[in-house]
Amino acid sequence: MFTAPQIRVDWRASFDLTGQILFYLSVPLAFPLVLAVYYGEPLLPFLGAIAVTLGLGWGLDFVGDPEANLGPREAFLAVAVIWFLVAAVGAIPFVLAGTGTTASPVNAMFEAMSGLTTTGGTVFREFSVYSNSLLMWRQLIQWLGGLGILILVTAVFSSVGVGGAQLMETETQTQDVSKLTPKISETARLIWGLYVAITGLAVAVYYALGLSGLAPNMDLYNAIAHAFTSVATAGFSPEPQSAAAFAPIAQWALIPFMLVGSTNFILLYLFIQGEPMRLLQNEEFHFYLGTVGFFGTIVTAILVINPDIAFSSEATIRHALFNVTSIVTTTGYASTDYTLWSAAGQHMIFVCMFFGGMVGSTTCSIKSLRWLVAFKSLRRSLYTSIHPEAIRPVRISGNSVDEQTIRDIYGYLLLSIILVFMLTIFVVVDAARFQSLQVSEFDAMGAAASTFLNIGPAFGAAGPFGTYDIFPTSTKVVMIVLMWIGRIEIIPVLVLFTKSFWTS
């Protein structure tokens, strides 16, 4: 083993954990393998992926050191590396299957990263060339990524008990991982148990709609596939038409599960454990539901006055509410092609991308809590400009937020907006190299926000029924990186590129 005294990160601790996780990644891979056997489809993609993940896991475990201490820096490193490598392993079955656009490694990586980060933007052009098992793998990755891999890891390995809280905080960038129980692994288990239970309920509801004939094409396969990606607010669908492929009643049924998936799971747990007021009186919850209600109403109004749209009144409300919910919760399903709406409607959908659900949920994007803190702090600034001596803590649900957290939130908002802006410019400039490619600024902005904020569909050719395959490879590579950065909330990746992370 080489020793590098100037490196102050105990990377062997991070590698050991990464190795173990990759090792266990073979367990979920067995699910599509079983499906492949059932449908009589090629087994190679999954057997190959299992072999690679076992090998990689074993190798990292070998260089890793189980005795090494997992501190904050090691947690940053582990989180960044794990999310990247799990996506890489997730891409292997696409490459090995060799069908459709994802035969190319970059496209496969895009699809896997978009899956794991619960973005839900696809590079598929033709869905029919894919096997059922591969399409289900795509859904399963989203479900695994939905609540966060490291919460799952903490739930499974009691051994990461001490570092577990560190990992969960790093993964979600929430200051306080509220422990429900004294042991963090027990808390993680409760949350995952709840996640599994809600997913199970979603399967039952969707399948019941299918069985009853209300949504005939919602068979067990589709029920499971959509339960995975609705509760995970992820957005992939084995159907090229996404939610539009199903009956209106099925679309209505998807809405509550997207909403629940974007609700803080700790508060949900307390809700069913007899402390409903903790959730119902939570200000972030009000803000989040308010966002959905506000934009749902506005989009309904826009659809009503839009001359090109001739929906029935039920359909108008359904399409407005469904698509707003889908975008605000960062799911990314579509019940209709909103790129056909007027500019006003499309711009409203664009604005919705920046909200997100509650912290501690499966949602992505900026999240309601950050906006709420930022708005309240701005309102306070107005007050203190008249009364400079007044001390006014920003309060959320009665608890005051400390000033350092407020500064961090401002920093996060600024960084997010800068990254979206930079990616927009990059998409436009990169596309300009090709004569055939027409990317408007709005389309580029949409694609940038949608990938970085992990939403999924964008506008123009990359709309809900479109594909990201139109973008050049270089753009796709940058998007892969930004989906990765966005999902683990920027900081864990960016710190890896600072000198002081490694040496001071």
Partner: protein
């Protein structure tokens, strides 16, 4: 009754002085010189030593004591002393604490720390403060009979509509008794024809609503509502609790505290208070924030000098009513002479409260007025009391001293005392008595 008092500071000494007349009092004090001096000042036994030590407590014969009062300035010493006392015998233990924390713990389980009662001086002072500012123009206000009865002392100002009226005209309320009038140094027991003069201090006893209405009568337009602008200067524990209690009444006070960290802490704990971090003696700041237009200013800083400064400043820039916390007992009169409306001394408040508890078991509640010229008692009448079965008129002619029946409560309901009201066993009576006659009155019960 044998009473052991730990600590001969202002509080302990004041309690000892109140009790020494009728009871056997033992005072334990760590300061040798002070312990020595106490022997001569008061008719008590004083022991030099640590009140928490078993040995000293044995020497003080705590095992045979009926009451044990821990009144040092240190919370933990007081609690440990009570705990120790409970290992020796079973006196009724009273601990004085500053921190509300210990009181909250004790409220969870009475008897915690070996204390049978805890008196929290900061909270008590704040409660007092809120009562006084809750009734503008009241110099003093105390609840009796579990809050069914209020006793208040008011100063009648020059412009008051009541000045120049006869008592019978001023007292429009059925459930209000005019107990006494202080005119200069003199105590008057008024009857219906007594004329109220400006600068009199009137003591009334009655239902809380009547007392409130009377307050409005004597100083119209000065009652507390949610538009009342209250400014508290100083984020001491007393300042904090005052703000908190005002918040509980639905008011939105302003609090000025100079220390940044303390201000932040207060702002976090007081969601309905506007906390400002600045030096409260800066006139520019006070003008900018329109403190001169405030209805009430509470000076609750940790230093008497600063409280005096801010109180005088506030009066000068035109605040209607200024109430101040005064730590040094000797300054109380000085403050009020300078023109500060009410000066509240935490030690006096505490000593008064402890004395109430330690008074002979029939006396349940007590307020001392005007430098001990008069007292207001609350008594529960036993079946064998000589007063039971008599009307108030009969008692009036029987007893020689100066006293007034202020209020009677029977089965937790208020009865207005009239000449023909006949007392029954179990009645609570609230009586206003001239101090020199207090013992005489007690013995006839």
């Amino acid at each position: 009754m044998r009473v052991v008092i730990i600590g001969a500071g202002e509080v302990g000494t004041s309690i000892a002085a109140n009790l020494a007349g009728d009871h056997d009092v033992v005072v334990v004090e760590t300061d040798a010189a002070r312990a020595e001096r106490l022997k001569f000042d008061l008719d008590v036994l004083s022991i030099h030593g640590d009140g928490t030590s078993l040995e000293i407590q044995e020497e003080a014969e705590v095992d045979t004591a009926d009451m044990f009062i821990a009144s040092t300035d240190n919370d933990r010493t007081n609690l440990v002393a009570c705990g120790t006392a409970k290992t020796l015998g079973d006196p009724f233990t009273i601990a004085r604490t500053k921190s509300v924390e210990y009181l909250r713990t004790w409220e969870r389980k009475h008897g915690a720390f070996g204390a049978d009662h805890i008196i929290c001086s900061d909270l008590l002072t704040a409660e007092n403060m809120v009562r006084v500012i809750g009734l503008p123009s009241a110099l003093d206000l105390d609840p009796f009979a579990g809050g069914l009865v209020h006793m208040a002392e008011f100063e009648i100002n020059e412009g008051s509509p009541v000045a120049g009226q006869k008592v019978v005209e001023a007292d429009r309320f059925d459930s209000l008794t005019f107990a006494g009038l202080f005119r200069g140094e003199q105590l008057l027991i008024p009857d219906g024809s007594t004329v109220i003069e400006a600068n009199d201090r009137a003591v009334v006893i009655g239902r809380p609503e009547s007392v409130q209405s009377f307050a409005t009568d004597i100083a119209p337009g000065h009652t507390l509502d949610d538009a009342t602008d209250i400014v508290i200067t100083g984020g001491s524990q007393i300042g904090y609790h005052t703000a908190r209690l005002l918040e509980e009444r639905g008011l939105k006070p302003r609090l000025i505290e100079a220390n940044q960290e303390r201000a932040r802490e207060l702002a976090e704990d007081l969601p309905n208070t506007v906390v400002m971090q600045h030096d409260a003696t800066d006139t520019d700041f006070l003008e900018r924030e329109h403190v001169d237009e405030a209805d009430i200013l509470v000076a609750a800083m940790n230093s008497d000098e600063r409280n005096l400064l801010i109180a005088v400043l506030a009066k000068r820039i035109g605040v209607d009513r200024v109430v101040a916390v005064v730590d040094n007992t000797e300054y109380v009169t000085l403050f009020e002479e300078i023109g500060i409306d009410v000066a509240i001394n935490p030690r006096n408040v505490t000593a008064e409260e402890i004395t109430r508890f330690s008074y002979e078991n029939i006396a349940e509640n007590l307020t001392v007025l005007e430098n001990d010229q008069a007292e207001v008692f609350e008594l529960e009448l036993d079946a064998d009391s000589s007063m039971v079965g008599k009307t108030l008129e009969e008692l009036d002619s029987e007893l020689e001293g100066q006293f007034v029946f202020g209020a009677i409560t029977r089965n937790s309901s208020f009865i207005t005392p009239r000449g023909d009201t006949r007392l029954k066993a179990g009645d609570h009576i609230v009586v206003f008595v001239e101090t020199s006659f207090a013992d005489g009155f007690m013995s006839s019960v």
